[in-house]
Symmetry: D2
Subunit: 276 residues, 4 copies
C-alpha cells in the first residue's frame, strides 16, 4: 500500500495583479485562500505601490474568507499572491440558521423575487431540494451558452436568463437565483479552479442539501473536488477580487495560477461534493 506523497497532497494557487491608480484610493482585494478547518495554507502576499512594499490590512469575511484592504497612492500597484494548500477530505459543512436566512434573500445580481413565478412553474413540482438543484443546474447548463465578454458588471440573473449567454459568474447567479426562488438556500463562492480551460478566477454556487453546503457548477468547466475557496457571499457584489471603495484605479493585468494535487479528478457534475 503506497502512501500518497507530499507532491500529490498539496495544491498550488496564486495570482498576479497590476493596477493603475490615478487618485489616492482604497482597494479591497479578495484573492487569498479562505481559512477552513480542514485546510492548511502556506502563503505569501506582496503588495508594491510605486516600488514600495505596502502593508495589507486583513478583514474578516464570510466562511473563512479574508479581504485585504489597501490604501494606495497614484501610480502603479502590483500584487503577488502564492499559496500551497493542503486539504484534508472535503467534509460537508453544516449550514447555520443565520446563513440559511441570508442565503434565501434576494440580492443585487440574484433577484430571486423577480423570477419566482418562472422558477416555480419550471421546478416547483420537483419534490426534493436535491432534485430541484439538479434540474436547475441542468436547465442552466443546457440553455445558457458560455461566451467570454458576453456580460458586464451590471448583468444580473434575469439578464442572463433572457440573453442565454454569460461567463461563470452569470451561470452562478442564475443557478443561485433559481434555487432561492424554490426555497433552496444558495450563495456564491469565488474559487481557484485547477483544470479550468482558460485559467482565471472562477465562480461557483453553494446550496443547502440536507443541512450542509454542497457545491455546484453549471458551467462544468472545472472539476469540483479540487476547487479552492477564496470568498463567499450573496453574489458577485460580495466576492469581487478587487473593489475600489474610494478613489480611482483600473486593473491593467491579471494572471491566475491553480494546480491540483495530483491528477485532476473526474466530475460528473451531478453528485454531491462539498467545497473545502
Amino acid at each position: 500500500m503506497s502512501q500518497p506523497g507530499p507532491d500529490r497532497q498539496s495544491g498550488h494557487v496564486g495570482c498576479s495583479l497590476t493596477l493603475e491608480v490615478t487618485a489616492p484610493s482604497s482597494i479591497v482585494i479578495q484573492i487569498a485562500a479562505a481559512r477552513r478547518p480542514a485546510v492548511t495554507i502556506s502563503e505569501r502576499l506582496e503588495v508594491v505601490n510605486n516600488m514600495v512594499a505596502l502593508p495589507a490590512q486583513e478583514l474578516t469575511g464570510a466562511a473563512g474568507g479574508r479581504q485585504h484592504l489597501l490604501h494606495v497612492q497614484p501610480g502603479s500597484v502590483t500584487i503577488e499572491y502564492d499559496a500551497t494548500i493542503t486539504a484534508g477530505p472535503g467534509t460537508p459543512i453544516r449550514v447555520t440558521d443565520e446563513e440559511r436566512v441570508a442565503a434565501l434573500r434576494p440580492s443585487r445580481y440574484c433577484p430571486s423575487d423577480r423570477l419566482t413565478g418562472m422558477a416555480l412553474s419550471h421546478f416547483g413540482e420537483i419534490p426534493t431540494a436535491l432534485e430541484r438543484v439538479r434540474a436547475i443546474c441542468d436547465y442552466v447548463w443546457r440553455h445558457v451558452m458560455y461566451m467570454s465578454e458576453s456580460s458586464g458588471p451590471a448583468t444580473d440573473a434575469v439578464d442572463t436568463l433572457l440573453s442565454a449567454r454569460g461567463v461563470c459568474r452569470d451561470f452562478a447567479h442564475l443557478v443561485t437565483a433559481l434555487c432561492r426562488a424554490v426555497e433552496v438556500p444558495a450563495r456564491v463562492a469565488a474559487v481557484y479552479a485547477p483544470g479550468l480551460a482558460l485559467m482565471d478566477f472562477h465562480c461557483v454556487v453553494e446550496v443547502e442539501v440536507d443541512g450542509h453546503w454542497q457545491v455546484w457548477d453549471a458551467t462544468r468547466l472545472a472539476p469540483r473536488p479540487t476547487l479552492v475557496r477564496v470568498a463567499t457571499g450573496r453574489d458577485a457584489a460580495d466576492i469581487a477580487f478587487t473593489t475600489v471603495t474610494a478613489g480611482r484605479a483600473e486593473l491593467r493585468s491579471l494572471g491566475v495560477r491553480a494546480v491540483a494535487p495530483g491528477d485532476l479528478p473526474a466530475d460528473d457534475h451531478d453528485r454531491l461534493i462539498a467545497l473545502g
Copy 2:
C-alpha cells in the same frame, strides 16, 4: 338539406362604457368592429357627455381598425356600441412587406430584442415557422397561469416570462415577443370573443405563416373561429380600448357583449385559423 337561418349567420357584439372626466379631455376609443373585406357590419355608436350626444371622429387604424376620437368636457361620458356582424368564410389575409417589417420590430410590451437568446435557446432549433409558433404557444400555455389582476398597464413580456402569470394581453405579449425573436412576424389584435368565460375585451396574436396572417391564443379561453377583430397593432399600446391623450378621465364601468352566430365552434388551439 337545411340552410342555416339568419340567426345562425350573424354574430352580435357590443359594449357599454362609463367614464368620469375631471378636466377637458381627448379620448381615443377602439371598440368598433374592424372593417374587413369579407365582413358586413351593421352598427350603432352613441356617445353622451353630460346628457348631450357627442359626435365621434373616426380615425383610420391598421387592418381595417377604426379609432374614435372624442373631445369631452368634465363630467360623465357614456358610450354604447352595438354591431351585428355577418362574416363570410375566414379567408387568410396576405402579409404585406410593410406589415412584415413592422411585425418583426421590438415594441414597448413585446421587447423581443431583450429575450432573443432565451427564445433561440428554447425554440431556435425548430425548423419551420409554424412549428416554432406551436411550440411557443404551448410553452406559454403550460408555463403561464391565467390570473385576474396579476399584471398592470406597465407589464411587458419579460415581466410575464418572469412572473409566469398574467391576463390575456400578457399571454399575447409573451407569444408575440418570442415569435419575433425567432424571426416570425407577429402582432396583436383586440377582439370580441364569443364564449369567453368572463366576458371582456380579449387580446390574441396574429403571426405570419406561409405569407398569411393566422391567429393564436395561448390562453385557450375562447374559440378562435368566431373572434371579431377590433384593433390591430404592435402591442397593447396600439389597441387599448380607451386612451386619454390629453386631460384626465377614468373608466368607471365596462360591459362587453359577444354572441356567436349559432353554436360555439370547437377549437383545438393548434390548427391554422385566420382572424376575419
Copy 3:
C-alpha cells in the same frame, strides 16, 4: 436644576402581529429593539401558535440586531412584543472597515451600480460627503411623493426614481443607492419611530460622515432623535419584520406602538444625528 424624571427617560415600543399559517413553516421576525452600548432594554416577547406558547430562537444580526426564528405549525400565530427603552445620549458609532466595504456595495433594492451616471451628474460635483448626503436627501424629499400602497415588495430604488412615489422603504432605498453611487457608504435600518403620523414600522438610512454612522430620513415623517433601532442591513431584504424562509404564512394583522420619552423633539432633517 431639575432632573428629568423616569417617565421622560424611558420610551416604550412594541408590536402585535397575527399570521395565518397554511403549512409547517419557518419564519424569521425582526421586531425586537437592537442591543446597543448606550441602550438598556427591558422587554417581553410572546409567540403563540394555535394557543400554545412557542419558544423563539434568537439569531444575531448586524449592529446589535436580533432575529427571532420560529418553527410553526399550520393555524394561527400571534406575536406580542413590548419593550421599555432607556437610552443614554446618542453618541455616534464608528464605522468599521468591514461595514464600510459592505455599505458601498450594490444590493437588491439599492442597485447603486445601475444609477451611478445619474448620481454623478446630479451630485458628483459636490465636494464633501456631508453636503452630498444633504443634497441627495433634499432631492428625494422634493421629487418623491409619499403615497401608501404605491409600491410593492419587488420595488427597487430605480423604480422609485422613475415612479417618483413610494413609502418609507422606497425613500430609504433611493437615498441609499444614490449615496453609494457617489462613494458615501450607506445602509438602511428598521426602526420604531415615535411620532410617526400613521404608526407603523419605519425605515431610515445610515450613512458614514467623518467616520461615524449618521441617520437620515428623506420622508421627514418622524423626528430622528427618538428613533429606536430594530434591524440594520443593506436594504429591505435584510430587515423585513417577517420573512417566511420555508412553508407558507401570511400576515393577517399588524399593530405597532412607539412612544418617546417626554415630548417629541424637533428635527430640521438637516443636522447630524446618530441612531442609537
Copy 4:
C-alpha cells in the same frame, strides 16, 4: 441684390454601406431622403450583391420616408446612395390626429409610461408644452454626456436616464420619452446632418408645438435648419438604417456624407425650427 446661386441652394447627402451576408437574407434599409412637399430630390441608389446589381423594392414609410427592401444572397452587399436636395423654406407641418395619438404612446426605447412620475415631478408644473420641451431638452443636454459606444442596440430611455451617457439616439429617446410622459406628442427622425462633428447618421426629435411638428436636438451637435429627413417613427426600432428581417448579415463599413447648401446656419437650440 445678389441671388443665391445654385451651389448655395442644394445640399448633398449620401452614404456607402458594405454588409457581409452569411445566409440568404432580407434586409430593409432606410437611407434615402424622405419625400416632402417642399423638397426636390435628385438621387441615385445602387445595390450590388456579389458583383451583380440588385433591384431595391421601395416600401412606403411615415412622413414621406422610404424603406428599401433587399433580398440578398450570401457574400458581400455594397450600397451607394447619393442625393442632391433642394429645399424650400422649412414650413412647419400640421400634426394629424392619427400622428398625435401614435406619438403619445410608449414605445420600445421610449417607455414613457415607466418614467411618468419622474417626468411629472421635474417638468409637470411647467405651464406650456413649448416650455416643457425646452426644459426637457435643457435637462438632457446638461445631465447626459455624449460618449461614443456608451450604449447598445437594447439601450432604452430609462437606461440613458440612469447611466447619464449615450449617443444621438439615446438623447433622442430620452427627450421623446419625457415629452410623451408630460403629454407632449413626440417622435424621432433619422436625418442627414451637415456639420455633424463626426459625420454619421444622426437622430433627432420632433414634438408637437401648437399643432405643428418642430425639431429638437439635445445633443446640439449639428444645426437644425439644414437637417435632411430620412426616416420617421416612434423610436430607433422604426428608423434603423439597416434591419435584417430574415437571414444573417453584418455591417462591415459605413460612410455618411452631408453637405449643406452654403454656410452652416447658426442654431441656438432653443427656438422653433421645422424639419423639412
